[in-house]
Symmetry: D2
Subunit: 353 residues, 4 copies
């Protein structure tokens, strides 16, 4: 098989490193460009990046020369995790050149013509919006696809089978989010030791808006009410969320678990390399899921961190037809790089890149 | 003023130590007995207790001899924080002897004749239930008063002014609870480093039941729906909670804050030594309250840790007439020993002990 | 190849679980018995053990029935991590039955006839002491081998090549030890959040004694001076140590690093499955090794956590011919189960079991 | 008493805030200027500074207008905690104007004419060096005094009585340093959760040089050898150090403890407000001192955090006449602002400001 060439934009940061982990030895993709800000450019990757992840920097990228995001970049697919402020210009340029831009940055995310994708949830939005996007933006072959906020991602994956089977009227969610969600330098240690911070700027608004877009039909938002409270806790990776959901009709705890366990998307049927089988893991232990124990849930190995772990499914006291549960997803794997790579795998298999 | 003699039952544990902190140099009370399990008895307090709290063991108690809870204990008031399994027999014995037993243990808490008290919220329940309790239990002069679960306490203090002014229909609450709530040895460090545990045995049921009892009229529970999700985080002291509340009628964020800020109980009007003025502190900073920064909120000095800090009061998207906010209260001060001592101060001033 | 049957004694604890991880799908060994205290016996492993490690309980052991350590146990090798208080009687019984007992417990460790082994350092002690042990203890075919304390292990592995090449006169070492070293329930979270504990009962004495035994000739202790200060830090796994070493003769930093990098034991030459190649990894980054980043150092995959990571090798100001460095080793893998399994692999290949 | 006017240079940072805590309601000093970088200048202190410390921002400074460090600053004493890069020019300017500059910044610290002071240890260096400094630098009335590195400070305070009584030949020290030592934003949380960092840039060199300067006679360094290994641990405040000391002559553990306990400086005899009595607290508990429990050691109240807690004094195995012990000192109080304020109190009482 001819591998597609891929560029990683923002390759030196923590999510860029998760992209590299997901793409090394990938059966469909070959990293051809590692791009970063001009100040990192020109040096070998091993010299310009401090490696933040377990397991050390892969040998394959150590010697690659880092390219400036301002330079011309040639690649079939551009995986972008640039800072949202600077991403738009570069992403537009690459899409115009013909690249499939699959991006974790939040710019464009709320534009009507830009699909925001969790492959198991709404991959059909790509097809629905692509033509309009190309026409409106003047792309010939390229396009831009986004992934949602990391806190949205785990939640929506658990909501999707409930929406399909029972309908959803309301969602109240409180998150306990990992430090890596703010970037490696985002949260000073002095702020979080023996502490919790009950605020993450802009996060609640993002989740509340994105749930509706992702569970909508591609043209119109879903009709439901969503309210969140987002907190930062002293955990490296893995967002834990407590969800209270008002279903459209009565469902027993047993039915809810069964529907979650049976859930799968087209990417699971296609057995894509990064597709976790199953995508939702419903745990019966009373005290799970836990970030340190369950954040790398997901099989096969390449899908580690791509499954969402769910626990404590139980009835709710407040909502009619209400249930509550806890969920955990790895915020920089399923919530960022892994989700984007899985989207790329799908588009590749469908001949869209 | 003649000080009342007090016994601390369970004096060597962490809450027992909070009692000692609260009672040393107290204007109304004099510690006359430190009681603990028979195996600690007979030794000096400094030899039988490992001191867990900041600031070191007060000189006043170092040389006191620890008495067995099985021995005869003479005191006007018994502050009890015994393990719930063994508390009942001892508390009954002391109440029969004539002591006012003010207890943080959960035994008896759901008996109809036992008042569960937050002084600012429902101190009148004492008067309503006392005669019945004495008659039923065969106490002549003594009685038993309980404080609620530590997670209930902060929440109910914030709900009380809302209930009085607007009515409350529903409450959804997710807690991020401190380690000390499980006792000093309760949570192994291996369980919580880089982790959150989405489960605390029995806690959700307690909160859901106690909110109704505390906000009820002393005879009947309040009519409202309460649903919780309780989580343990790696914080030493201070329970943080995200609350979503459906009010009985429309109220603006400004009104809600004003009503919270103006809230006070009789204990504030009486300027009791441990009564925080004000009892609710509404913060305007976006990222507060935080456990490490705000857990000792409360003035004057003797009331440090007795106020509940509230932040992020904002509209809710799900409930009609809904608001949401974060709240923090010190789980072993306001949530345990401090609340009990404030109850004792009230009863003393009213001549009930 | 006919696999040897092995029993894990103390199979439900944290080190027992590390044994299971190391033995599942092992090319030489087959777990035939999981033994634990009588109160766990009779149930399936999945019911009697709470799994503490990342990656979940291996399918292979879930259904195995846990056997009482008081029952008759049949196995070629018994890997023991029983509490030291109760280990002696059981280990003696099994050795008498003919089993090779390879044990992480500290009982017998200071007996002259009991080899305490790090395979790369002193595997020849087994041969030297075995006959005497069998004679003295009345074993026919079986025997008992111990591993050293987890804090000793990493240190001695770094000292061995220095001793061989330059001689060692003195060692001063301060440790920053992981929580798992005290067992899962050993350190309460309240004791360690925002804290360090400058004391670990008995640890310094163990290290000071064991270094001499391990670096000795099997009959007599090595002649050097060792002084330690052992501290507990809030890290799950991985003991970090700062070492100051007075060598027997002048050696440059470059020579020291080279000697460390070239170090290997017979187990490396034999390419045993759990032997890390190389056993010592000397890092050049200024701020390494770090517990979270480097504790699983060691290749091939089965040897993850078996290498010792060394960093910051530099001259010392105090000692003549002095050097200093930092070292890190995984306390429950290299420091316990992994070290024991590697010992077992060697003994198997040499036909001693 | 006429209070001296003081300026705090670098008033918005964490050490600046410790200065404010130490100076509010001070019997000798009155804060007249809060100075910070030009970008904070012109705003009220409550608007330009995010308060990092427990207890909240003192009312006294909330409304004060922050002045640019580039503007003219009038004050009798300038307490400076400016970034070392920018401190020199400003400190020189103020000293020329006639102010006593007492600074925690590391610039000038190794100049021969600049006293580096721990009041209990070497306050006489001020008198010895002042004339030379004024002459050389062209100051008429003003001068510059420095405090040592925070890691040096605790160590030297414990060494001083040993040096005086027994002599010291060598010191080996491994530190476990708090996060606040790097400044509020200094250590990202992602770097330290479940981790220790065995490196702090430049720290070891500073300690090794400063110990000699402080224990010297003001003109010449002390003759001893010092070697360190500096580590960062996940603790907010309080540097813990393991020290191994070769004394000049034999001393029993009992003698060492007695000499430490009896130690006092002139500032203790003068009963200066920030002088802890005693300055060294030798603990007998096996597992102390601990950062979270003991960092605020020191009485009277204004001296909280100014005492050094010592524990585990015991014989050393390596050094002839060797002892070892653990010590803890609050790095931003005794190690920074508090030490500077105590120096100021002494100079004030001696009529030098």
């Amino acid at each position: 098989m001819n591998k597609k060439s891929v560029a990683v934009l923002g390759a030196t940061g923590m999510v860029g490193q998760r992209f590299i982990q997901a793409l090394v030895n990938h059966p469909y993709f070959e990293i051809s460009v590692l791009a970063a800000s001009p100040k990192s450019a020109g040096k070998k990757y091993s010299e310009s990046a401090k490696w933040y992840l377990e397991g050390g920097m892969p040998e394959e990228v150590k010697g690659m020369k880092v390219v400036s995001t301002e330079a011309r970049i040639e690649a079939d697919i551009a995986f972008s995790c640039l800072p949202s402020e600077s991403a738009s210009e570069i992403e537009l340029r690459l899409a115009k050149q013909g690249a499939a831009v699959i991006s974790t940055s939040s710019n464009f995310r709320y534009d009507d013509d830009v699909p925001v994708i969790i492959p198991e949830v709404n991959i059909e939005h790509v097809g629905l919006l692509l033509e309009g996007q190309r026409k409106r933006r003047g792309f010939e072959k390229g396009f831009i696809v986004k992934k949602p906020n990391c806190t949205t991602t785990g939640l929506v994956m658990t909501l999707k089978p409930l929406q399909d089977k029972f309908g959803i009227e309301s969602v109240i969610m409180t998150s306990m989010q990992a430090l890596s969600g703010a970037g490696y330098e985002g949260v000073p240690s002095m702020a979080i030791v023996d502490n919790v911070i009950p605020y993450i700027g802009g996060e609640e608004e993002k989740v509340e808006k994105e749930v509706l877009k992702l569970l909508g039909n591609g043209r119109k938002d879903a009709k439901m009410k969503v309210s969140c409270s987002c907190n930062r806790v002293g955990v490296t990776d893995g967002h834990l969320e407590s969800a209270f959901v008002k279903l459209g009709r009565k469902a027993s705890v047993g039915e809810v678990k069964r529907v979650m366990r049976e859930f799968e998307g087209e990417v699971q049927k296609m057995k894509l390399p990064s597709a976790p089988i199953p995508p939702l893991i419903v745990m019966e232990e009373l005290d799970r899921p836990q970030p340190r124990m369950d954040r790398y849930a997901g099989e096969p190995e390449r899908a580690g961190g791509m499954a969402v772990a769910i626990g404590r499914v139980r009835e709710d006291n407040v909502f009619e037809n209400g249930i509550r549960y806890s969920l955990l997803s790895h915020n920089t794997v399923r919530g960022a790089a892994g989700n984007a790579v899985l989207t790329g795998e799908y588009l590749f298999k469908k001949g869209m890149v």
